[in-house]
């Protein structure tokens, strides 16, 4: 485009998502002040996040006071499924915010206002089912977890490296279905290790409960670290 008037270049130099990152830091401070360990759970739609959370909440129930913020583009079905566990559940429908495909920090801030943070040890955020966009948005969590199920392609980790690189743990879910599938589990695990060497991977079945103990222990260890840091 030929312009007659001269152009003046104005240096800006800033993160495009600076506003979100600032809000995420505020969330992080608020959660830390109450000693709440926050886990952001992400995956494709249909990986079994909600079932996994139901079982996880049941396993934690006697020891840990948990709550869930659940994000979906529409419907309150997941919140209804989680509410039966008896823990506080806040449903966020992102269509109210423009049909977003992820949860942003300001949405978490608002949703957390509906929770009594002083009474909560562990807050799960069940993000909108999507392996792309949530990777880019810090919400003020302590741990980021990605759930991959064996009914998906083995190569998801290399197709969505930003997601798998930014997570602290991965769950390979629905392993009870392995006998019925041609899924190459070794290949999937190799891809995860290739994208994020050393990241813990938990092989789980929300249906049978297999593998959940190790995952729950990992959560409890994170919670302990958070409590220690908060001086509790």
């Amino acid at each position: 485009m030929a312009e007659k008037a001269p152009l003046r270049e104005v240096r800006v130099v800033g993160r495009v998502l600076a506003v979100n990152e600032r809000m995420a830091e505020e969330n992080r401070r608020r959660f830390a002040a109450r000693g709440v360990f926050v886990v952001n759970v992400m995956s494709s739609p249909g990986s079994g996040k909600t079932s996994l959370l139901q079982k996880t909440l049941a396993a934690l129930a006697p020891r840990v006071s948990a709550a869930v913020i659940v994000g979906d583009v529409a419907t309150t079905h997941d919140a209804e499924r989680l509410a039966v566990t008896g823990v506080p559940v806040v449903q966020v429908n992102t269509d109210a915010f423009g049909g977003d495909c992820h949860l942003a920090a300001h949405v978490i801030e608002r949703a957390a206002e509906d929770l009594d943070l002083g009474a909560i040890d562990l807050l799960f955020v069940e993000n909108v089912g999507n392996l792309v966009c949530p990777a880019e948005f810090d919400i003020g969590e302590d741990a980021r977890v990605v759930v991959l199920s064996v009914t998906e392609g083995e190569d998801k980790p290399v197709k969505y490296p930003a997601m798998f690189r930014t997570c602290h743990a991965a769950l390979l879910n629905k392993i009870d279905l392995l006998p019925h599938l041609d899924y190459d589990k070794a290949r999937a695990l190799a891809y995860i290790r290739q994208v994020h060497p050393g990241m813990p991977v938990f092989e789980t079945s929300a249906r049978t409960g297999e593998g959940l103990a190790a995952w729950v222990d990992w959560l409890l260890a994170g919670l302990e670290r958070k409590r220690a840091a908060a001086g509790r």
Partner: protein, 122 residues
Amino acid sequence: MHEMGIALQILEIAQASIPADLAGARVARVNLRVGRLTAVVADSLRFCFEIAARETPLAGAELAIEEVPVTARCGSCGERWTITEPVFLCRSCGGGGLEILSGRELDIVSIEVIDATGGQDG
């Protein structure tokens, strides 16, 4: 899918960056640095930005996107290299303890404002 949200953020930052002495001036170009390890699709971002910028000083502005490669340093042997495939293992010693040096950028570098005052100091 989240590119519209990002486009709106760019628009907001760019509008706030127009110097006071050029208030009302149009912006011809926005220079961005986008790392290859971000979940941003350049074409979608341009498309969303074009729509979002309508009826603003950035209407018709070009989004100039510089892609930043993914570079890493091995924590074990110190090797530095550019990662071109989703393999985050040291190409020299095979170690997995990498520090990602670049590739996660989503930065706005500058805006180029049309200086209709004919300013010579640009």
